[in-house]
């Protein structure tokens, strides 16, 4: 058993209120992740559960017993620290056996448990070594082993993977998850990495400034963020926010700002009806931006090839990461069930500099791809400025913008929070954009502004980068758009495209 309940937990450091009234119920066998920016109180909360920090007010109980006053040793918990905290003067075996020795276990029992744990973690060979003779990943395993030999009621993890290199971190993440499934022990995991949070957690607790912002399953956080902070924090690349004013024209609601004009779909419009004339922040997930013109039968093709050299360098060599449907042919929008949608979702990492446009014969061209790449105007700077591109976007979130000065605060409540039903609006609004100008970072790529010749929309409807910070993470959004339009990635190996579970 390992049910942890936090009731009204507060923590003060002198005058600083570090953790504010945290209430949380962690079920037995659950994997709960605390996530938030640094200094948000997540580690402090964990340390209070561990007994390493005094609780200023409130109660923490494990399996119904209040443990506020218990010493760490009596709480029956195990903790894995960020720097592993291996005892440097002891061998791996002694490190793992230390907790059992302290608890006066019999020698044979200690030996059995240590060897079992070492087998589980694949460190049987290393038992005689000292910590300094181990690599980072091995130390991490030893630290895990030290936790699991004790068979505690609750595991506490304090950013255990953040000292590992990127590749190892992914690997250990998977192993941690497997380990949790195998052992079935309640786990509380602190991280600032939202990918870890989303992949590991049964439930995720998002914190900011000592306040719990939202508690929920990963997809719940993704699709129904409780406020703007959660919406912006969860999801990579981050959600785009556009500050707009809601106006009414011909019976329908229009959201607009200086360069953006969207006719709001009915569902959204209904919720926003009370805010006509007020400022509202629209949130758009990058993957909800699509190229309106392309279709399944005419998918744009993007060849990805590592050619090197300056001649084929098209954009910023920085790497981007985006989500896409696994095979370009699949359209996510109409798939049933969130789970299926998630399962089929892939992660693709690629280098913008490695993309070039080609026709089906493999010859460099504009052609069918032009439209797609035009969305990428900002990134794939070869797109000709002045040509307009139809964009489709789905509005996922709307946030009230208060007119009383506290306007764009992060904790602005989500209009949708708590509403039943499908979280996606699903409604589409058409926009058009001038390629090459869309969200282009103005300083880096100075280029004279040109008038926008649009198609289907009034000129200037999305004309400057300032108008809508839509493509916050430009390339990723573009790629999302590309794949959404049914684009396929050919020859993906050098791009490190990777299919996640």
């Amino acid at each position: 058993m390992g049910q942890v309940v936090l009731k009204g937990i507060n923590k003060f450091y002198d005058s600083v209120h570090a953790v504010k009234d945290v209430n949380l119920q962690i079920r037995d066998k659950e994997f709960v992740v605390f996530v938030g920016p640094s200094g948000c109180g997540k580690t402090t909360t964990l340390r209070m559960i561990a007994g390493l920090e005094a609780i200023s007010s409130g109660d923490i109980s494990i399996d119904g017993n209040v443990i506020n006053e218990l010493a760490p040793m009596d709480r029956d918990i195990a903790m894995v620290f960020q720097n592993y905290a291996l005892y440097p003067h002891m061998s791996v075996y002694d490190n793992m056996a230390f907790g059992l020795k302290m608890r006066k276990f019999e020698k044979p029992e200690i030996d059995k448990r240590v060897r079992d744990a070492a087998d589980i973690l694949g460190i049987g060979e290393l038992l005689k070594r000292k910590p300094r003779q181990l690599s980072g990943g091995q130390r991490q395993r030893v630290a895990l082993g030290r936790a699991i030999v004790r068979h505690p009621r609750v595991f506490l993890f304090d950013e255990p993977l953040s000292n590992l290199d990127a590749k190892l971190r992914v690997q250990m993440r998977v192993e941690l998850k497997k380990l949790h499934l195998r052992l079935g022990t309640t786990a509380i995991y602190v991280t600032h990495d939202q990918v870890e949070a989303m992949t590991l957690g049964d439930r995720v607790v998002v914190m900011k400034d000592g306040v719990v912002q939202q508690v929920g399953e990963p997809l719940e956080l993704y699709n129904q963020p409780a406020n703007k902070f959660v919406a912006g924090f969860i999801g990579s690349p981050a959600m785009n926010f556009a500050a707009v004013t809601v106006t009414e024209a011909n019976g329908s609601l229009i959201a607009e700002n200086s360069g953006l004009r969207i006719k709001l779909p009915d569902e959204t419009a209904q919720r926003l009806r009370g805010h006509i004339g007020h400022e509202v922040t629209l949130g758009v997930r990058p993957e909800d931006l699509t190229v309106a013109g392309s279709s399944r039968s005419r998918p744009p093709v993007l060849r990805c090839r590592d050619r090197g050299g300056r001649a084929t360098r098209l954009g910023n060599p920085a790497r981007y990461e985006g989500r896409r449907g696994c095979h370009g042919g699949e359209r996510r929008a109409d798939r049933a069930g969130e789970g299926a949608r998630q399962a089929a979702r892939c992660h693709a990492s690629f280098q913008a500099s490695r993309f070039r446009r080609e026709d089906r014969g493999g010859n460099p061209t504009g052609g069918a791809l032009r439209r797609c790449c035009a969305v990428a105007g900002a990134v794939l700077r070869t797109a000709k400025a002045g040509r307009s591109v139809p964009l489709t976007l789905r509005i996922l979130q709307e946030f009230y913008r208060h007119d009383d000065g506290a306007s764009d605060a992060d904790d602005t409540p989500n209009v949708r929070a708590g509403l039943p039903g499908d979280s996606r609006c699903g409604a589409l609004a058409n926009l058009s954009a001038c390629p090459g100008r869309l969200a282009r970072p103005p300083s880096r790529y100075p280029r004279p502004a040109r008038p926008c010749r649009s198609s289907g929309w009034e000129p200037g409807s999305l004309s400057t980068s300032a108008a809508m910070p839509v493509l916050r993470d430009e390339c990723a959004s573009v790629m999302a758009a590309f794949f959404e339009a049914g684009g396929r990635m050919i020859d993906s190996s050098p791009c490190m495209a990777r299919r996640s579970r």
Partner: protein, 283 residues
């Protein structure tokens, strides 16, 4: 490293190094050469024909023999060793605990207490020996080794505490926290985890304390009076300088023999000692 032409290496490395070594080692050389020269050479006037202060062709053990046979040098050595070891042990035990408490336990005024302890170390012994002499007299400890064993910690404990404080601060807090979650009490965590990890620091504090008490002069001079109780520094200077007559040979032999144990202690622990000074605990 010094790069570039060969002459640069000579000018900026070898020559300064040689001068430095000469400067440091010459007193030792002088000590050694004086202690093995016969008296005839030692007291030869500087303007005599074959005056050669830096070398001898007739080395002799006479002075060392004199030291052990005609003076109480052996018991001085024993006294010094005993006193230095005992006071070092006392100071280390106190210093380790105090340093741990000051660096790890959050109690009110911990910071100012630490500073206060350090300030007591700064009070010069030349002032402190006057009230201490009164205390020693009142407790009738004068002329016993205990007068030194109990007074040396007055400057050794602050020193060790300060050194250990710094060292304990460098030991990651997580080690101890982890041990406590693993089921150790605070005391066990300190005993099994923190102190073993801090061994290099403890050793360097010990060596410093040992050297300080070995070389201590003023307290030993004031609190000890009978020749058989004296320590090496006091014994050598008080028994081998009679009036205005310096027995240079035995004097230097005594100084040489007195400095050897310290040198041995240093070289024996030098690896730990260096680690202690640079103070790194990598998990």
């Amino acid at each position: 490293m010094i790069e570039g032409a060969r002459w640069r290496k000579w000018v900026f490395f070898y020559v300064p190094m040689a001068l430095f070594l000469l400067f440091l080692l010459f007193p030792f050389y002088w000590m050694v050469i004086t202690s093995v020269r016969p008296d005839g050479e030692l007291y030869r006037p500087w303007n005599s024909i074959n005056y050669n202060p830096f070398w001898t062709w007739k080395p002799t053990w006479d002075h060392v023999r004199y030291l052990f046979e005609e003076t109480l040098f052996a018991s001085w050595l024993w006294n010094t060793t005993f006193i230095a070891l005992a006071s070092t042990a006392i100071s280390l035990v106190c210093g380790v605990f105090a340093g741990y408490a000051l660096s790890r336990l959050n109690f009110p005024f911990a910071g100012s207490l630490g500073t206060g302890i350090f300030i007591t170390y700064l009070v010069p012994q030349t002032l402190l020996f006057i009230p201490l002499a009164e205390i020693i007299r009142n407790y009738r400890l004068g002329d016993t080794p205990w007068s030194l064993i109990l007074t040396y910690p007055t400057f050794l404990i602050p020193f060790c505490t300060w050194l250990m404080m710094g060292y304990f601060k460098a030991v990651p807090k997580e080690l101890e926290e982890c041990a406590r979650i693993d089921g150790a009490s605070r005391w066990q965590a300190m005993l099994y985890i923190v102190i073993p990890v801090a061994i290099p620091g403890i050793l360097s504090a010990g060596i410093f304390a040992f050297t300080l008490s070995w070389n201590e002069f003023i307290y030993a001079l004031v609190f000890l009076s009978s020749p058989e109780q004296k320590t090496v520094p006091v014994g050598v200077t008080s028994e081998l300088i009679r009036g205005d007559v310096f027995f240079w040979g035995p004097l230097m032999a005594g100084a040489l023999l007195g400095s050897i144990p310290v040198a041995i202690a240093y070289s024996f622990f030098v690896e730990h000692y260096v680690a202690g000074l640079t103070g790194s605990v990598k998990g």
